[in-house]
């Protein structure tokens, strides 16, 4: 087990480096320079060149990247060129919002997706059809549009939840939960369908397998077969799907933060994109990737625990 974790960690590090390098190189391709952005269009070429020299932007890309990487490892992701605040500070301030959204939605996705997938597989008939139709529908509907409709219904008409804004957990846990309800619900609704489809398909495949036939023929109660024998075998692909769904959820948080006016990493990302605030964008991109890597690592570990063949490899 430990071996799997260590090996995965060793793979995760180069992954981070590659992603940050891609982002950095892309950034260097951008027309204009950081100094131009900082000084505005009225700046003299001399001033721009001087600032670039000070910032090290006149160096080759790889050299710049190397110094950025060194600082990043030490915990310094440089500063915003718009506000001048350190990127790490921005991250720290906005992380709780995004994390609440993403983790909340992920948990909801797992609960809804796995349960409805199982129900569809076990009961079949109408329940199965509902899951199948919903899955298609949900994949075809734009989440941001759904979010707004949900906002109109639950926020404006029914007034069950606030239409926008975010209340920190520390201020009021109940308001925190209420402020998350809509965005988390909408996010999870979309992605849960994917998990449900995979859960159902995997369980149905297991039901046709030889070992399930043997268990049935030897008088195992159906609950034991479904919840123990089939569940453990179906869990692997479902886990993989969940980790992929998490990547989608992170993208979704950007939209949700925008729609529900929540001060998270995503809304920062959108603002910085509009402002060409490269250091912030780079820092955020790397940080998002890091979150994905952590989730992938966790699913890999879970995989190892579930599937003896993975361990054997």
């Amino acid at each position: 087990m430990l071996g799997v974790i260590v090996r995965r960690l060793l793979l995760a590090a180069p992954l981070m480096v590659i992603i940050s390098l891609i982002v950095f190189v892309l950034g260097s391709l951008a027309p204009g320079s950081v100094a131009e952005s900082m000084l505005g269009s009225s700046a003299t070429p001399e001033a721009v060149r001087e600032l670039n020299r000070q910032l090290g932007a006149d160096q080759p890309v790889l050299v710049q990247y190397w110094s950025w990487l060194q600082r990043a490892v030490a915990g310094d992701l440089s500063s915003s060129i718009v506000s001048g605040r350190p990127v790490t500070e921005l991250l720290a301030a906005r992380l709780p919002v995004t994390l609440s959204l993403a983790v909340g939605a992920l948990l909801l996705v797992i609960v809804i997706g796995v349960c409805s997938g199982m129900v569809a597989a076990v009961r079949g008939g109408f329940a199965g059809r509902v899951v199948e139709v919903l899955a298609v529908l949900v994949r075809g509907l734009p989440t941001f549009w759904l979010a707004m409709i949900a906002g109109v219904i639950f926020g404006v008409n029914l007034m069950w939840v606030p239409v926008s804004g975010y209340v920190p957990f520390g201020d009021s846990p109940s308001d925190w939960a209420l402020s998350l309800a809509l965005p988390v619900g909408v996010l999870a609704f979309g992605e849960a369908a994917l998990v449900a489809i995979v859960t159902r398909a995997e369980m149905l495949a297991a039901m046709r397998s030889d070992y399930v036939r043997s268990l049935r023929a030897n008088g195992y109660p159906w609950k034991r077969i479904v919840f123990k024998h089939i569940a453990k075998n179906a869990a692997g692909p479902v886990l993989t799907m969940i980790s992929l769904v998490f990547v989608g959820l992170l993208g979704g948080t950007i939209l949700m933060e925008q729609i529900f006016a929540m001060p998270g990493l995503g809304s920062q990302m959108v603002t910085s994109t509009a402002n060409h605030d490269l250091p912030v964008i780079q820092g955020l991109a790397v940080f998002y990737t890091a979150m994905v890597v952590v989730v992938f690592l966790l699913t890999d570990v879970a995989h190892g625990l579930l599937n003896p063949k993975v361990m054997a490899r």
Partner: protein
């Protein structure tokens, strides 16, 4: 897949496969949902392409006196906050979105197909490299990278959509790759190489057609996703700069007017939904058409649907059968007594009979062999007894008596109690009949706990005892292994031990040695015999191998086309078969035949279920056929010495027919 595919399942598969070959496009055209989606999509694309001609007014034309208008004859979809015609804006805005979809999908398809096929066919370093790159790309949060690109390239749509294509490619690469690998391992590809085809020919003829279905499915989904993402970018205000319309920024407009004019949400988001949904549905349609099934037909499959319909048939038995029962009164009361068991499997909307009125008894401690060729219904017979049948099956029987209990009247849970403790089962593929996710020791102990209600420690002791009974040495070591770490023979021993956990009176073994080597087969058959002698357990052994029957059984029942044609003690059956089918089959064996001389064969093949003749079902292949064989069903009639045969040439049958 097992070497010998039994009965109806094989038939169903054949049928499914035949349908698959009826033409992919034709099947696609038969799906109303897919055709409808394609039509809608086509109309939308046409309308968007000819937007300047079709739109009632210019996309920027303002009418400040008529803002937030609801749909009317002038403005079919109403107006927005500046009084602009929503329909016109939608048609013009779609040009950007659809162009973006085409760009992203094209890039994704090019990368996905090329790399997927390369990785799948070249193997080695390329394979590893491509799959690693995929892993990396999959870990990139797509929207985040898109925003990075938009920031860097100054909100350039084309750059964003190309990036999107790249980000979405790993899934397609994986789909193409795994489809390629699946085909690459197919024996027919090896066959093509042996036939002398070069790599290009193999890819064009064998690999691409197999990859096309999954790839097309994935590409439609990619297009749907591209549509949604493009709209999302527009919605975030990072794509097309207002006041130029795009589907995304029209939703933004609607959002700002959400309280004043909720109607605006409907057309703006609706068009995105319509396009994305159509693409998704087309993808699903392609998938279903490719898999050779009607749209959505899998949804009928579920755990609940596995429970069969069991009917008890109250019917006056025919005189011949009454006589049969009476004649066998000298034998002790049977453990299992099956009377007129039939099993129907669903085919399309109707059912087709697979097993037809099979009756047999198994005495205490007796070993009954059920022999026959593929498709004769021998496996389905025991499935019917155990009620573990393919989905949608119908079991009809006059009576299935087990230890004096009538099984046909039992509910599913009562029946489940009989399985395992009364009747146990072992299957053909020893390794796959064990759950791959648990150690065999755990599975064995679970069976003991379940069937004997013992505690943890005692279960472990019993499990060890069972393992020594099936002659598995080093119970501790073997118990810690997973099924895939065992040899076929060891796995079958574990399966037998698991079946013994409930101390059953009857063990049902479905081709238990077919997948094993001959030397292992002998060991397993010896083991079954010894266990039977030790515990007095009866055995039903289903097999197509006459050697196995001779080796392991006391009595054998020969099945042909869903019915029993002969029952006899094994020795008599082999040395003096009564039914022409049994005779011909035994003669056609190469065992003991004169080497390199032609064998006496039975011409033709077993008639498929659903196309059985009225008369003797073997008549068409029988060398001794007479007119009376063809007219009416031939009863199974007992002769002397516990032999029964279903043939008009057997003397006692002659009498019965008269």
């Amino acid at each position: 897949m097992s070497a010998v595919i039994e009965g109806a399942s094989a038939d169903a598969e054949l049928r499914a496969a035949a349908e698959r070959d009826a033409g992919f496009l034709r099947r696609l055209a038969r799906q109303p949902l897919t055709v409808g989606s394609a039509a809608v999509l086509f109309l939308v694309v046409l309308a968007v392409v000819f937007a300047p001609l079709l739109s009632p007014s210019g996309p920027m034309e303002q009418d400040l006196l008529n803002i937030y208008a609801l749909p009317s004859a002038d403005h079919l979809l109403g107006t927005d906050q500046l009084g602009r015609d929503i329909l016109s804006r939608m048609l013009h805005g779609g040009r950007v979105t659809l162009l973006g979809v085409v760009q992203a999908t094209t890039v994704c398809t090019l990368i996905g197909m090329t790399l997927g096929l390369l990785a799948g066919t070249l193997q080695g370093g390329v394979e590893v490299l491509v799959m690693r790159v995929c892993d990396v790309l999959l870990a990139v949060p797509g929207l985040v990278l898109l925003l990075v690109v938009l920031a860097i390239f100054g909100q350039n749509e084309t750059a964003a959509m190309i990036t999107l294509g790249i980000i979405m490619s790993p899934t397609l690469i994986r789909v193409v790759y795994s489809a390629t690998v699946a085909v690459r391992e197919e024996p027919y590809v090896a066959g093509a190489r042996v036939a002398g085809l070069n790599s290009r020919q193999i890819i064009m003829r064998h690999i691409l057609p197999a990859v096309a279905g999954p790839a097309l499915t994935q590409i439609s989904l990619v297009a749907a996703l591209a549509c949604l993402v493009e709209a999302a970018i527009g919605f975030l205000g990072l794509g097309v700069v207002p006041p130029n319309p795009s589907w995304g920024n029209m939703v933004t407009d609607a959002q700002q007017a959400i309280v004043l004019a909720p109607w605006m949400l409907v057309p703006s988001g609706g068009i995105i939904a319509v396009v994305a949904l159509s693409l998704t549905l087309i993808g699903n349609g392609i998938r279903d058409a490719y898999a050779g099934r009607a749209s959505g037909s899998v949804s009928a499959y579920s755990w609940r649907a596995l429970t069969p319909v069991v009917e008890r048939e109250d019917r006056r038995p025919a005189p011949a059968e009454v006589k049969g029962v009476e004649l066998e009164t000298d034998r002790p009361a049977p453990v299992l007594s099956v009377k007129r068991l039939s099993l129907d499997l669903p085919r399309g909307r109707s059912h087709v009979r697979i097993v037809d009125g099979v009756s047999f008894d198994v005495g205490p401690g007796e070993a009954l062999g059920i022999v026959g060729e593929s498709g004769c219904g021998k496996s389905m017979t025991i499935s019917g007894v155990l009620r573990v049948v393919p989905m949608g099956a119908r079991v009809v029987a006059e009576s299935i008596g087990f230890r004096g209990v009538e099984l046909t009247t039992l509910g599913e849970s009562e029946m489940n109690a009989v399985r395992g403790t009364g009747i146990a089962f072992i299957s053909q593929e020893p390794i796959s009949s064990l759950n791959p996710a648990f150690t065999v020791g755990h599975q064995l102990q679970e069976a003991v706990r379940l069937h004997r209600g013992t505690g943890r420690a005692e279960s472990k002791a019993v499990a060890h005892d069972l393992m020594s009974r099936v002659r598995l040495p080093e119970a501790e070591v073997v118990g810690r292994k997973y099924p895939h770490e065992l040899s076929g023979g060891m796995a079958q021993r574990i399966a037998i031990a698991r079946a013994l956990a409930g101390e059953p009176d009857l063990l049902v073994a479905d081709e238990p040695t077919t997948a094993l080597d001959v030397s292992v087969q002998a060991e397993i058959l010896d083991l079954l015999r010894d266990l039977r002698e030790q515990s007095g357990m009866a055995l039903i052994l289903v097999t197509h191998d006459w050697g196995v029957v001779a080796e392991a059984c006391d009595r054998a029942m020969v099945m042909y086309a869903g019915e029993v044609v002969e029952t006899a003690p094994v020795r008599d059956l082999v040395s003096n078969p009564h039914h022409p089918y049994t005779q011909a089959l035994l003669r056609s064996s190469s065992v003991g035949a004169e080497p390199r001389q032609l064998l006496p064969v039975i011409s033709g093949s077993v008639p498929a279920p659903g196309s059985w003749p009225t008369g003797c079902r073997f008549a068409a292949r029988c060398g001794l056929v007479q007119d009376r064989c063809l007219t009416a069903p031939v009863p199974l009639v007992p002769t002397t010495g516990g032999v029964s045969a279903r043939c008009v040439l057997v003397p006692s049958t002659l009498e019965a027919v008269r």
